[in-house]
Subunit: 305 residues, 2 copies
């Protein structure tokens, strides 16, 4: 079942060179989650052929414009398209005031229920749980309160062992898939482990943008299948990275290595880099399974081979 992320924008605060501000679309079993929503995100979604109505939740990491300024336009377009499905937005406490003020002054009365949830930026805290995923927070290290995410699949159902199908009555199958034992006709108990196979491993995606080098995140990132980590600068601009509370590509790779993640995905490239290859090269020296995000590219979140 699908679990993949499409990077819609890979630029930093000053958009340039065909890069757009941060926005990512996470598809988990055909439900869409939008992560950050920089200016122009609705256009990027349209170019990716995405039906806005499939987006049920939006997560905003922090209140820097390159991570949220596309939200009002997207909310408005959903309204104009006649959306009726409710929408949940999870973001910093200030976001609600910013959205509500703009709805008020534009006299916009949304046709759909909009719920804006204030997120506590505490690593490991559950932000949201639905039938597909559990989303926990990462307290990133930035100039403003900035919240990263770990999105982990919820446990799937156990699958029935083919050879045991004849002994499991149809009306008990749902329960057995959920882990129940079976009481046989002769009164003996057949343990669930004899009836079923383990569900597929739970896949996980982590999103870290924007942040200074923050090794305290490693315990929360350990073992994720795909880690997106910002890589605004190369080590040559380490001082600038420290000053602006961003990361170098080497620092991103160090986090990936120390957390032993499946793969590392880099983004949030400073406009000074014509090509992000220099950032990739730097990261690869530390962590080999590194990828560059690009506008519109999709990356599968897979369990490790």
């Amino acid at each position: 079942m699908v679990f993949e992320v499409t990077t819609l924008g890979t630029g930093a605060a000053l958009p340039a060179r065909g890069r757009y501000p941060t926005a990512q679309l996470l598809n988990v079993r055909d439900e869409l989650y939008l992560i950050d929503c920089g200016e122009g995100t609705q256009e990027r979604l349209r170019m990716a052929g995405v039906n806005f109505n499939r987006i049920g939740r939006i997560f905003i990491s922090h209140m820097h414009g390159d991570h949220y300024l596309g939200l009002m336009g997207l909310l408005s377009s959903m309204h104009l398209q006649g959306r009726s499905r409710e929408l949940h937005v999870h973001g910093p406490a200030d976001l609600k005031e910013v959205v509500h003020l703009q709805l008020r002054v534009s006299q916009t009365y949304l046709r759909y229920p909009l719920h804006i949830h204030a997120v506590a930026s505490v690593s490991g805290e559950v932000i949201m749980e639905d039938d597909r995923v559990t989303v926990t927070a990462l307290a990133l290290k930035h100039r403003l309160p900035c919240t990263g995410l770990v999105v982990k699949e919820r446990a799937g159902l156990r699958s029935l062992r083919k050879e045991m199908l004849p002994v499991i009555p149809a009306y008990r199958r749902a329960g057995v898939k959920q882990g129940e034992d079976l009481l046989a006709e002769d009164g003996t108990v057949i343990p669930n482990a004899e009836l079923t196979l383990d569900p597929p491993a739970r896949r996980s995606y982590a999103f870290c943008s924007d942040t200074a080098y923050a090794p305290e995140l490693v315990p929360f990132l350990t073992g994720v299948d795909l880690l997106y980590h910002e890589a605004t600068f190369t080590e040559a601009l380490l001082a600038r990275a420290k000053e602006t509370l961003h990361s170098t590509a080497r620092q991103a790779a160090t986090i990936a290595r120390d957390a032993d993640v499946g793969s590392l995905l880099l983004g949030h490239f400073s406009s000074r880099y014509k090509s992000a290859d220099v950032l990739l090269k730097e990261a690869l020296e530390v962590f080999p399974r590194t990828l560059l995000s690009s506008e519109g590219a999709t990356f599968k979140v897979g369990t490790r081979g």
Copy 2:
């Protein structure tokens, strides 16, 4: 001397079909004025090769998102580019609160002085005057207070008649160019009309978006050289135009004809029209000197032949 307008976005509220929300760049003798600033305007400016620092003033017609949501991103990019030149923004009273709230929550302390002026939407009232133009308001007819503009060149200096140069002392030339008479050595007065030629005619541009059909604007538009007027729908959707307080192409052309403008420029096309040709055709039946705006196209504001 240059007086021209570049239409950066020609779409209506729901952007689609390669159209962008409203934004226009007015160039008067190499000073740039931005009129409306929908989402993505900074990208459109970049694609048009415009140095943001040349923009001294921004006018926002009203608080519908497709006319102002690009402002915060542009203000932020000007800041990140190190702008020091002051910037004036003229718009609805609510705009100041919307901008200041977002600067506050993003903890952005702009490097340049930003002055946000509340505009009274009263037709004929002077909004702004500098050494190049006088800008007066047009009270448009829309769901929100919405202010159009008439931008008129200020009177240029009179030019000295070549044959009279010998009789005008150098130290009197500036005064004579401004219309002063000359006292000759023999005590007689030489009237200014004998010394100078009229300055070039004052060119004017008017901007009407968004508005229902508003014939009360005609006296304020009479004789402008180039009138931009929204044309969201065709007459087939007249009821929809009335309901949403927008205009049909025929209505825009009727205003242009009744105001006897030089040329009419149409824009703000509904996303339902794949091509705007149907709107052009409808307008041409009423007013022959009609043009279609398009993304990135530039139109000279010339006095009438």
